[in-house]
Symmetry: C2
Amino acid sequence: MNARFFELPAERQAAMRNAGLEVFAKQNYAKASMEEAARLAGVSKALLFHYFENKRGFYLYLYEYATGLVIREMSAAHDYSETDFFNILINAQLSKIAILHAHPYAMQFITNAYFEEDPRVRPALADSFSAIVADSSARFLARADASKLREGVSAEALLNIVLWMADGFMRSRTPEQLQDLDALNDVFLAHVGLLKKQFYKEEFL
Amino acid sequence: MNARFFELPAERQAAMRNAGLEVFAKQNYAKASMEEAARLAGVSKALLFHYFENKRGFYLYLYEYATGLVIREMSAAHDYSETDFFNILINAQLSKIAILHAHPYAMQFITNAYFEEDPRVRPALADSFSAIVADSSARFLARADASKLREGVSAEALLNIVLWMADGFMRSRTPEQLQDLDALNDVFLAHVGLLKKQFYKEEFL
DNA sequence: CCGATTGTTGACCGAAACGGTCAATGATAT
DNA sequence: ATATCATTGACCGTTTCGGTCAACAATCGG
């Protein structure tokens, strides 16, 4: 790619990046259109090809950008000293909410990349990132303090419930709801608080 | 449309329908391709146009089919005498699971149709179906017996949790997992059972 | 004020895919 | 044998695809 891209005003860079993340988040590599990305970014198609050698180069730059962004944001907010079951999950989910608020298409882009099979880009996509995500549940369960949970409550099952719920919650948000970060956090915290109240032994509430 | 379509062997009808539901579930009306639908159905594009006058006719037939299917399946399993909070939700979700098992793209097709804005089809899409879905939560809350819930538990909040969780659960299923209907039901029931155990007063367990 | 560099675009290219048509083929049933 | 009908490959004109390029405009160092 053309390194002069990074000399552009930040908003222009962001416009191209966000447009690219959007088209590749909504379709697979083959079907996503550079023309549409340019349209969404508000620049000419020729300009996109001026900064990125071709579709593949654009895609791979976005991949690097999105994975870097998510790893950075997720680990920045991570507190390794925290052991409370719900607090760990809440912190992780608040980070995800913040990412989705600031970069609505970055997560979906990464998810698509994980399943992307196009031979033009598949070999260039690392599995390291997916590997980190894959066993994050195991690492969570190893660290989270399950002793605060009421008798007979499976930590794995409760983790599933919270993760599925968080996923469903985020997906059911309208674009307007995604705009209001504080309201988003409040609603999520209120519901997870309800879970916590029922699943923790009384002495830990 | 050509009524002779219904004289075809059932598998052939299903192949065309499922292919159509798939392409319109994955893309909006404008971007979805009749060519791809034919490819997925394993028939020639000309045959599709033989049975459906044009893209619009195909889409509108699928809309009618999908909404009819979902309404039929959902109401067939519905028990109006049931008032238990969790049982109502479980029954509804088991119906959804069965639909998603048998017609993996019908639900997403309907969701897309709800947001479809293309002027060629938008005017022909009824809002009656969406209206039914929209206030189903209110009707549920009016009928469900919230008195079994522990002190201080909001029925609305718990409903959200279960719905979001069910949504996240279904979305995280792999295609292979979607194949095994019994296992699907078991996993879902186990998790919802865990919720029930914590949210119901002890005398109702 | 100059010329060189760089940001930006409209017009264009050949190829592919689009929605849609049609003549021809093959099967079936009377 | 004939009429009916399922089915398709080839084709139409149009649009969109990834990608290129010449040209214009802005900026900047001398």
